[in-house]
Amino acid sequence: MSALRVLYVDDEPDIREVALLSMQLDPDVECRAVECAAKAIEIVAAADWLPDLILLDVMMPIMDGPTALEKLRDLPGSAATPVVFMTARAQSFEKERLLKLGAVAVISKPFDPMSLAKQLRAIYAAATA
């Protein structure tokens, strides 16, 4: 079984580092973490490393998560890739709004570093079943 490729976008360095660290605990997950949506778009457009799952922070400067999702949907390499939003504003109406945009799941911040990778693998399995 090849590792689940996760492309993670978050502008906040501490959170990005904890998420990356937690995904590195799982040998079945391979993660690339970037600080802005433009870099994620570059990676997908280059097409030499295509993610199986994209994890997007919602509130980011310059390009927020929902806008990034729209742009990623226009690229052949991520047109159908499952997208998960991560947000500190996790009220149910906000989650519903994000799911309606086309995300397969919404993860609340703060997340559990010990189970993030497992949670992402479960989300991916459900989204591609």
Partner: protein, 97 residues
Amino acid sequence: MNSFDATMATLRARFVARAAEDLLRLRGHQSGMPLPRQDLHWLAHRLAGSAGLFGFDEVGLLAGELDDRLASGGDATTLRELLTALEGVVSENRSAD
């Protein structure tokens, strides 16, 4: 201590150092040097997303509440409570050094 725990300890220390800076900015905001609304919103949002990762749940919850309330008009009470919680984080972790 394994490498995960060691890195988390480093990140936690970095969070506390930044919390001290946030505290100064919020104290300034409360005493005549108001932060631009967008800066205050980003500060609350960042704390809401990160404080809980390092075990500072109360700061995270209050910052989340402030983040929500700023989106709908602001809230001086939550800001004061957040300031108090941040003071606790900074002073407890200073005395632990």
